[in-house]
């Protein structure tokens, strides 16, 4: 059924020469003018420009147009622009339809004649469709001003601080016992070589002390429901078995604990206790008990920590807690983890004690690390030569196809540190050096001047079978030097594997909970690679830092600030207009079979037992149409994509107009 007698204006855009270079726009507008219900048809150089929009507005006003078709680019580009123009001229914004004759036509069709024909067909479909469009009005809901940040690395901390400084409340959820992320493991940072702790520790402290930040460490997100502006989030707080209010952070418990295990923070280079804080500057500095290794939890005996804790903070009775919070926006900043090189057996990681991963090497360089910052072999000797191998796991068809972006740079940072601290010879085995970034190429030049040996070629093997007796005890690095075109065998004391970055474990769960997707490598998909790098297809969900892909600290911080800005801008609006093109269930037709509920990936549908029908929550519905296609009853109407509209469009696309029946005014009314 049509709501009113259609009076349609059709506007064909040249898009400079993007469209008019292929499509005969004049012919298309002339063709359109003869289509049923079309009152005006024009073509114009740039429809999206102000004069282009004004043309539509003036025509609507002067000629009482009540439907508009613009044939131009994709609706993803300018649907909103023209809807707004229609609204400005006083007609319902949904009385508008866009025919995509650029992306779907001029850009992809070789033959101008065929392109012109296709443009006519597309316009005909849109004209047929728009006649059936219905007026829709969007609803307005309040936005909860609180923000949740998931992940307390440098990007998450930065986002939390900016929002908190902006006067809004932030919940910062971190699954480790302390915030800080990967950066807190480093000693120096490229390219400026400033001390990582000096720049990150103040941030940790600021986060811990900010009155607007509620830190939830040793916690994970268990469930997210709701929609932009109104998310309800369940947080699972794991028991620390230490009462944070009583604990003074004195560390006696850790000292007295008799159970030792490999330290995750030091990547197995040292041991920690069963009750521990990951590193001395941990925030909060309340320890946690690792129940898998605590003697009391394992064997029922010990309680040494409890005995020695003067504050009486140890509480073996603590239970896991589920806390529910309400937020208007969520920032995901779950970062990365490093690639485990064990499967690449040619590098001997795990077999030769002097083969380290880069993140282990960061710990070795760090003053709080296993060697208090001294670069020495496991038996305490200063190395005479060190090999650093780039692209371990990265740019590798079998593991990670992509470039991890930071490894070249941190490898050179290591080279500098090794030379500075030990004077050893450093050999960097690289495929290409990638140093885009402010001051990065300069850093590379500096390293070359400092005497680091850069060898272009992939290492084929690391072995302890040395060539001459004086190298006994060293490791041989075998590589083809592709510039010198010969195989090099270099004896070294230490090998550093510059392992690539991969998404933090569990990222798919977070993505699923908030209704977004990850790419084939597991990184979160942003809304648009250029125009929406921090947004996601789920409104109100933003991303920052390495969860989207490998990047360095400056970029991670910039994204943290950007995401904070985006979240602040959203919540500052206070109110939110909700898209009107959503689904609605006709209670008269619904049989309560709940198939729609099953297929709605956004959880927008709920069952109403008393009425034995299903209902759509318009604020959550994304208008994807899954439910409408599934319901055999056709009880679901996807507004703006209802059956009348779609059938009319298809019919328009397939057939030319009827020569002798355009419908009378009465029928149309």
């Amino acid at each position: 059924m049509r709501e009113s007698k259609p009076k349609i204006g059709v506007y064909v855009c040249h898009c400079g020469t993007n469209i008019s270079g292929k499509v005969d726009v004049e012919a298309v507008s002339e063709y359109a003018s003869a289509l049923p219900h079309v009152a005006i048809a024009k073509n114009f150089k740039f429809m999206c420009s102000s004069p282009g929009q004004q043309l539509v507005i003036d025509d609507i006003r002067k000629n009482d147009l009540n439907r508009v078709v613009v044939a131009s680019c994709s609706p993803r580009m300018h649907e909103k622009t023209f809807r707004t123009a229609c609204q400005a001229a006083g007609i319902n914004p949904y009385y508008f339809q866009m025919a995509c004759i650029r992306e779907h036509d001029s850009w992809v069709t070789e033959d101008p004649e065929a392109a012109t024909q296709k443009a006519k067909d597309l316009v005909r479909g849109s004209v047929a469709r728009v006649a059936h469009h219905q007026q829709l009005t969007s609803r307005v809901v309040d936005i909860n001003p609180n923000v949740l940040v998931i992940g307390g690395g440098i990007s998450g901390m930065q986002a939390a601080l900016d929002i908190a400084d902006g006067g809004k409340k932030v919940y910062l959820v971190e699954r480790d016992p302390s915030i800080g992320g990967n950066m807190s493991k480093f000693d120096k940072t490229f390219p400026t070589l400033d001390c990582a702790a000096c720049i990150s520790t103040p941030k940790l402290v600021a986060v811990g002390q900010h009155e607007n930040i509620e830190m939830m460490t040793y916690s994970e997100v268990a469930d997210v429901s709701g929609f932009v502006g109104n998310f309800t989030v369940k947080i699972r707080k794991k028991p620390r078995y230490v009462d944070a209010d009583k604990c003074t952070g004195c560390g006696v418990c850790t000292e007295k604990c008799p159970s030792k295990v490999l330290s995750e923070f030091d990547h197995d280079l040292t041991k920690r206790k069963a009750i521990f804080t990951p590193f001395p500057q941990s925030v909060p500095n309340t320890p946690v008990i690792d129940t898998e290794n605590c003697l009391f939890f394992k064997k029922g005996k010990c309680r040494a920590c409890e005995k020695f804790c003067e504050a009486g903070a140890i509480d073996f009775e603590q239970k896991e807690e589920i806390v529910e919070i309400n937020v208007g926006s969520i920032i995901i900043a779950t970062g990365f983890e490093t690639f485990d090189p064990t499967p690449l057996t040619q590098y001997g990681f795990g077999r030769y004690p002097e083969v380290y991963t880069s993140i282990q090497f960061e710990r070795i360089n760090n003053a709080t690390g296993p060697t208090s910052g001294k670069i020495v072999t496991k038996d305490g000797k200063k190395p005479e030569s060190v090999a650093i191998i780039h692209c371990v796991g990265s740019r590798d068809q079998n593991y990670m196809k992509y470039c991890s972006r930071v490894c070249c740079m941190y490898s050179m940072k290591f080279a500098h540190l090794v030379r500075e601290k030990t004077g050893a010879e450093v050999y960097e085995f690289y495929i290409d050096i990638r140093s885009p970034g402010k001051g990065y190429e300069e850093f590379y030049n500096r390293l070359q001047e400092e005497g680091t040996h850069f060898i272009r070629g992939k290492v084929s093997q690391i072995t302890d079978m040395v060539d001459s007796p004086e190298d006994e005890g060293k490791l041989m690095v075998v590589a083809e030097d592709t510039l010198a075109r010969k195989v090099r065998r270099i004896p070294v004391d230490m090998v550093v594997l510059s392992v690539g970055l991969k998404p933090a474990a569990g990222i798919e769960d977070i993505a699923r909970m908030v209704g977004i997707s990850v790419d084939s490598d597991g990184w979160i998909n942003e809304l648009h690679p250029k125009l929406g790098p921090l947004a996601t297809p789920s409104d109100g969900i933003f991303i920052a830092g390495c969860c989207q892909g490998p990047k360095d600290i400056p970029d991670s911080v910039a994204q943290g600030q950007g995401a904070a800005g985006a979240a602040l801008s959203l919540i500052s609006r206070g109110k939110l207009e909700i898209e009107a093109a959503v689904s609605a269930i006709d209670p008269e037709r619904c049989m309560g079979c709940r198939q729609c509920e099953e297929v709605c990936v956004y959880g927008a549908i709920s069952y109403h037992p008393a009425l034995n029908i299903c209902e759509v929550n318009e604020a959550i519905c994304k208008g994807c149409g899954n439910c409408a296609a599934t319901c055999p009853n056709k009880a679901i109407d996807l507004k703006h994509f209802n059956n009348d509209e779609l059938l009319a469009e298809m019919e328009g696309l397939m057939f030319g107009p009827a020569d002798f029946h355009h419908g009378t005014d009465e029928q149309a009314a």
């Binding site: 059924m1 049509r2 049923p36 008269e588 037709r589 619904c590 049989m591 309560g592 079979c593 709940r594 198939q595 099953e598 297929v599 034995n612 599934t630 055999p632 009853n633 056709k634 009880a635 059956n643 009348d644 059938l647 009319a648 019919e651 397939m654 057939f655 030319g656 107009p657 009827a658 020569d659 002798f660 029946h661 355009h662 419908g663 029928q667």
Partner: protein, 363 residues
């Protein structure tokens, strides 16, 4: 296979016992209509009219799953109701449970190995010759002359998911009933009925010989339908006498929609549409959308079609609707490894997400 026992009870004794010993709220079963010649699925709430019951009369006036859905869909009966369902009706019932249109709580489901039914129009209570031939066919495990083609080709004629099964094929109908109890509910009922489970009876070899006959009939039927529908023209030829009465969908047990989409406003086109189509095709036959209707119903219901034959039974113009649905349906079902009516826990294929499926149709 569950052990079968001789109950030493005739049908009327059994029905009476359901009320007396099991204290059921009702028994839903086929019965004679007062008007004389036909039968209807009836819900009895007392034993007074039990002599009117004809549970195994070879006609299907309606798919009983539809009836049972009516009184279990929104609320569970507060007391046990015993229902007699043919195997295909029980399958339809299971499909309805999946789409929340029925519930088996507080039902005692009785079913039996089924020898098929005659087209509803063609069997009357007084048709002694036909009924005698039918009884002979049951006791020898053969397809009786004149039963519906989908019944003659029905290979799933032993029930699945019932509480009490009654064994007929290969036995004489005037002997005491032979039972087995595949479910806990059934076993509990046996105990309450005071049945002596030690009177075991051997399975009849007639079941297997009937199965064999049915399998070859099914192959023939499939080949026939395949040949008639081998192309679009075949589809048009088969359905072009359809009068669009939509009776087939009204009687289909699993066509559960309140208002069939094909009866909706969507198919009341705007007048110019008819001309547009006519112009494109050169002619337009009315009523329009006949093939579309059947394709629509096939796509909605094909995976769940239990081949009960109802649609074909009611078609005023003798289109072999059920034979087509049975054939096309089993192909769609095979694609998804789905067997309708087998297990109420199994999700419908369109609702089940499988990371990898239908790869043969990619690219």
């Amino acid at each position: 296979m569950e052990t079968m026992i001789d109950s030493r009870m005739m049908m009327t004794d059994f029905l009476t016992a359901l009320f007396d010993k099991l204290d059921v709220a009702g028994v839903a079963v086929m019965s004679k209509l007062p008007s004389g010649e036909k039968t209807a699925f009836t819900l009895f709430t007392g034993k007074d009219d039990i002599k009117e019951c004809v549970p195994f009369f070879p006609a299907m006036p309606a798919n009983a799953a539809r009836a049972v859905s009516k009184f279990t869909r929104q609320a569970v009966p507060s007391k046990t109701v015993a229902v007699f369902l043919r195997p295909c009706e029980l399958r339809a019932f299971t499909e309805l449970i999946k789409i929340k249109q029925a519930s088996f709580d507080n039902l005692l489901i009785l079913s039996y190995d089924c020898s098929g039914v005659f087209p509803f129009q063609e069997i009357n209570l007084s048709d002694e010759t036909k009924l005698n031939a039918y009884r002979d066919a049951v006791s020898t495990g053969k397809n009786c002359e004149g039963i519906r083609p989908v019944c003659a080709a029905c290979t799933r004629f032993t029930p699945q998911g019932e509480d009490i099964a009654i064994s007929f094929v290969g036995r004489s109908t005037d002997q005491p009933l032979v039972f087995s109890f595949p479910s806990e509910k059934g076993l509990a009922a046996a105990e309450q009925l005071g049945l002596d489970v030690s009177n075991t009876v051997a399975a009849s070899s007639a079941v297997e010989s009937l199965a064999q006959e049915r399998r070859s009939a099914e192959e023939e039927l499939t080949a026939e339908v395949d040949a008639s529908l081998s192309d679009t023209q075949g589809l048009v030829n088969v359905f072009d006498r359809c009068v669009s009465c939509h009776a087939c969908s009204y009687v289909c047990p699993i066509c559960y929609c309140k208002n069939c989409y094909f009866d909706s406003q969507t198919f009341e086109y705007f007048p110019e549409s008819y001309f547009i189509r006519m112009q494109a095709k050169g002619a337009l036959r009315f009523p329009v959308d006949r093939v579309l209707f059947h394709l629509g119903r096939l796509s909605h219901m094909g995976v769940s079609c239990v081949a009960c034959g109802m649609c074909e039974d009611v078609c005023p113009v003798n289109i072999p609707v059920s034979q087509i649905f049975k054939t096309a349906g089993s192909k769609a079902q095979a694609l998804f490894d789905y067997i309708p009516g087998e297990n109420y826990d199994e999700p419908l294929p369109l609702l089940a997400y499988a990371e990898q499926e239908l790869e043969e149709f990619e690219d």
